[in-house]
Amino acid sequence: MAEFTASVYQNEFLADGGTDVQAIVSITCSGAGTAGQTSGGDAGEIIVIDTSGSMGRETMEGAKHAAITALGEIVDGTWFAIISGNGAAFLAYPPVRSGPGMVQMDSRTRAEASRAIGNLTSAGGTVISTWLDLTGTLFASVPQVTQRHALILTDGENNEPAEVLDAAIARATGYYQADCRGAGTDWKVSEIRRISQALLGTVDIIPEPAQMKEQFQAIMRESMSRGVADAQLRVWSPQGAKVNFVRQVLPSVDELTDRRVVVNDLTGGYPTGAWSDESRDYHVSVRLPAKAVGQEQLAARVQLVVGEEVKAQGLVKAKWSNDSNLTARIDAQVAHYTGQTELAQVIQEGLAAKAAGQEELATTKLGRAVQLAAETGNDEATSKLRKVVEVENAEAGTVRLKKAVAKADEMALDTASTKTTRVRK
C-alpha cells in the first residue's frame, strides 16, 4: 500500500504589512508497487513510433529496436498497443479493426507485437494531432484501463497549424500521460514540450539512434513502477487569500497554476499524474490580507489526495512579527527553487533570442543562466550551458556565445532546462 509523507519548508514570519507567503512542500511516496497491480484498474501502455518519410534508415532501425526492447519492460497483464504515426495514425498492433484496440501483454502478444514493429516502414509527413487522438481512442476502447501512459517518438517538425495540435493536446490532457522523445535535430523542442508538459511527462532529445534503446527501456521501466495510478495536489487557502502560483519544482519545473480545478470555494486541485517511489517538491505562493503583528494564521493547507483519500498534508503558516531577524530570512529551499525556476526561464529565453539572432539579449540571458546554475549547484545545466557559451566569469554571469554550436547541444540544453536539482546539503 502506497504511503505518502509531506514536509513543508518555509519562513512563516512576515514583516508588518507583509502579504506573500512562500513555501516548498516536499511530497514523498513509498511502497507504490507496480502499475496496474495495486489500484482498482488496469494499466495501459501505448508506444507511438514516428514512421514519417524523414526517418532515415538508421533512425528507423534504432526506433524499432528500442520499441521492441521497451516491450520487454512492460509487465505481463498490462494492456498495450503500437501506433505507427506519420501524416495520419495507424494501429500497428494489435491487428484489429473494431472492438478493443489494445491487448494484454504475455509472451505471445509480445512476440507478435515485436514482429509488427519489425515490419514498419517509413513514408509520408508528420501530423501529431492524429497520433494523440488515436492514442486516446485506443485507451477509451478498454474501459478497465485506468492508468494510461504513452511513449511518443518523433523526428520532425509537425506539419499542421499550432491550434490543431493544441486542440488535440487539450483532448488528451487529464486523460493520459505521455513521455516524448525527439530523434535527431529536426524537431522543435518548444512544440514537443507543450505536449509533454500538458500530459505530465518528460521531453528529451535522443541525438543518436544507438541511444534510443536505453532511453525507451528507462521510460518504460519508470512507467511500470508507478503503482499509484493518479493523485491530485490540493491547495486550500483562506477566504480572502489569493494563490499566486502552484508549481512543481522537483524533479522538473512544471507550472500548475492554470491547471487548477475547483474542489470547493477555498480549495483547488492540481493534477500530478501517477506516482512511483519518488519525491516531488512543489512551490506554493499565497497572498494574504496583512494582519497585525503577533497574529498567526494558516496560509495554505497542501494535501496529496488519491481518489478522495487524503494521503499526506502539509501546513503553510503565516506569523506577523516585527523582529527583522525572523522576517528577513529567506528559506533555503524557497530560494533554491526560485533560482531553479528562473534558470529554466532564462535558458529558454536565451535560446529563443539566439535563434532569433538577438545575440546581445541571448548573451545576457544565458549569462544569467550560468550564474544561476552555479549558485544553485545545477551541474547538469552548467555542463550543458558550457557547450553553448564560453564562460568568462560564472559568479558574475559574464559569457560569450560560442561561434559554432552543435544543434543537438542547444536542443539538449533546452530540453534539460526544466530539470532541477535538490538543495545541496
Binding site: S237, P238, Q239, G240, A241, L266, L288, A292, V293, G294, Q295, E296, Q297, L298, A299, L315, K319, S321, N322
Partner: protein, 409 residues
C-alpha cells in the same frame, strides 16, 4: 496522555492537540517531562503545635476554559490543527487565553497579548468551595515564563499550579502566638515557591541550554472572623482595627520572586503596590535613580531572581496586611503593569471599567494592555474583598484604607 506543547489532556488516538495544535509524538522533540502534575507538595498539619510540612498529592486541576470550536474572526469552524477552516486564523488556544473563575469574588484572565507568539504567562486560582463574597478564602498565583527559554510556557503553568496546591491548605496556626503564626505563614509561602520551582524543573528538558524559568507572585486571602474587639483574643494574628464592622476584614499574605506584582486597590482610595520587584529597575531605584527613569532603563526588565534550574535563590520575599475596606486585590504580570505601573494608573483603569465582577474587570484590564500594545503576555487576577455586596464605592465617598503592612524577608 498529555500534549508536549501545552500540557492539555489528549483524547485517545488524537493526532493533534485540540488545544494548541501540536502534533502528538512530534514537534517539540527532546525529552519533555509529563505535564500532569503529580508533584509532592507540602501542607501543614493543623493539629501539630509546630507546623511540620507533610507530603500530600496535589490533584491537577484542569483549567476551565471551554474548547474553542468556532472562529472568533469569521464564525467558521476551527479545524483539528487549531486554524479556522474558513479564514485560516489561528484560534486562540486554551493556553493562549484562559480564564479561571473559582468563586464569584475571585477570577483571572491569562492572555498571549499581541506581539508574542505564545503565552508563557500562567495563573492558578483557588477559592474555598464554601466561600461567599464575605467569607472567601482564596489563593492567587501568577507566574511569568521567561521567553528566552524553550519550555517556559509549560513550566510556568506547572509551577503556578504546584504553588496553588500548596497554598490552598488552611494557614497553620503555629504555636498560636503572633510570631509563631507569622513564621509558619512564611514557611508555607517558602514551601509554595519551592514546589513551584520543583514543578518548573520537572518540565525542563534535561538537555536544555536555556532552562525554563519564570517569576512567581502568590497571595492568600483569609477572612478575619469575629467582631472587632474580640478579635485580639479570637484572632491573635491580627490586631484590632478601629471602626471596622464585624467580618469586614481580610488577612492578605503575599510572596514574590521576580517582577510580577501584587497591588491592593481599596475602593475610592489610593492603591498600593504590595510587592517589590526583583529587577534591575528596582536595583536602580534602590540606588537613587528616579522610578520612571529606572523603569525605562535598557536593562530595566532584567530580573534578578526567578524560579528554574539555574535560579540562584528561590526564597521569596513574603509580606502580609490586614484590610478592612472594600477593594480589589490584584496580581498581575508585567504585561499589565508595563502600561500602568503606578497604583493610581491601575485604579484609573479599574474605575473606568466600572464593574464589580472580577472576571469582567480582569478582561477589561487585559484589553487595556492589549490596546496599549500588548508587547508581552498579560495576566490579571482579581479578588473582590467586599462584605457589603458587589458595589464599588464612588471615589468621593470613600475613606482611607486602614492598612497594616508587615514586611518579611
Amino acid at each position: 496522555m498529555t500534549c508536549a506543547g501545552c500540557g492539555a489532556t489528549l483524547e485517545v488516538g488524537a493526532l493533534f492537540c485540540e488545544n494548541c495544535g501540536t502534533k502528538v509524538g512530534g514537534a517539540l522533540g527532546g525529552a519533555v517531562a509529563p505535564t500532569t502534575l503529580d508533584v509532592p507538595v507540602t501542607a501543614t498539619d493543623e493539629d501539630s503545635p509546630i507546623s511540620v510540612p507533610t507530603a500530600i498529592n496535589a490533584k491537577a486541576v484542569v483549567v476551565s476554559a471551554p474548547q474553542t470550536k468556532t472562529c472568533t474572526e469569521c464564525g467558521g469552524t476551527v479545524g483539528a490543527e487549531g486554524y479556522c477552516d474558513q479564514c485560516g486564523t489561528k484560534a486562540a488556544t486554551e493556553r493562549d487565553h484562559f480564564r479561571e473563575h473559582p468563586a464569584p469574588w475571585l477570577a483571572g484572565v491569562c492572555d498571549r497579548g499581541i506581539v508574542h507568539s505564545r503565552n508563557e504567562d500562567a495563573m492558578a486560582l483557588w477559592a474555598d468551595p464554601a466561600s461567599t463574597a464575605t467569607t472567601g478564602r482564596g489563593v492567587l498565583v501568577v507566574c511569568d515564563g521567561v521567553s528566552s527559554s524553550k519550555d517556559s510556557h509549560v513550566a510556568s503553568l506547572a509551577g503556578a499550579r504546584a504553588a496553588r496546591d500548596v497554598l490552598r491548605a488552611p494557614m497553620p496556626k503555629g504555636l498560636g502566638v503572633p510570631e509563631s503564626i507569622e513564621g509558619a505563614a512564611i514557611k508555607v509561602f517558602v514551601s509554595a515557591a519551592a514546589a513551584a520551582n520543583t514543578a518548573v524543573m520537572a518540565n525542563t528538558a534535561p538537555s536544555s541550554e536555556s532552562p525554563a524559568s519564570c517569576t512567581f507572585v502568590a497571595a492568600t486571602v483569609d477572612p478575619v472572623a469575629g467582631p472587632v474587639g474580640a478579635s485580639a483574643a479570637a484572632d491573635p494574628d491580627v490586631g484590632p482595627v478601629a471602626g471596622a464592622a464585624p467580618d469586614s476584614r481580610w488577612q492578605i499574605r503575599y510572596a514574590v520572586i521576580g517582577d510580577s506584582r501584587a497591588y491592593w486597590l481599596p475602593d475610592g482610595a489610593e492603591g498600593v503596590q504590595l510587592t517589590t520587584d526583583d529587577s534591575m529597575a528596582q536595583m536602580l531605584i534602590a540606588g537613587g535613580t528616579p522610578k520612571a527613569e529606572a523603569e525605562a532603563a535598557p536593562q530595566a526588565h532584567a530580573i534578578t531572581k526567578w524560579l528554574g534550574r539555574d535560579s540562584p535563590d528561590i526564597v521569596p520575599v513574603v509580606g502580609a496586611l490586614v484590610v478592612d475596606q472594600p477593594g480589589w486585590l490584584l496580581l498581575c504580570s508585567d504585561g499589565l503593569w508595563n502600561y500602568a505601573s503606578e497604583p493610581a494608573a491601575i485604579v484609573a483603569q479599574v474605575t473606568s471599567a466600572a464593574t464589580t465582577e472580577p472576571e469582567a474587570l480582569a478582561l477589561a484590564l487585559v484589553d487595556f494592555a492589549k490596546a496599549s500594545g500588548g508587547h508581552d503576555n498579560i495576566t490579571v487576577a482579581f479578588a473582590r474583598l467586599d462584605r457589603a455586596g458587589l458595589e464599588i464605592a464612588a471615589p468621593d465617598a470613600a475613606g482611607s484604607a486602614d492598612e497594616e503592612r508587615e514586611g518579611h524577608g
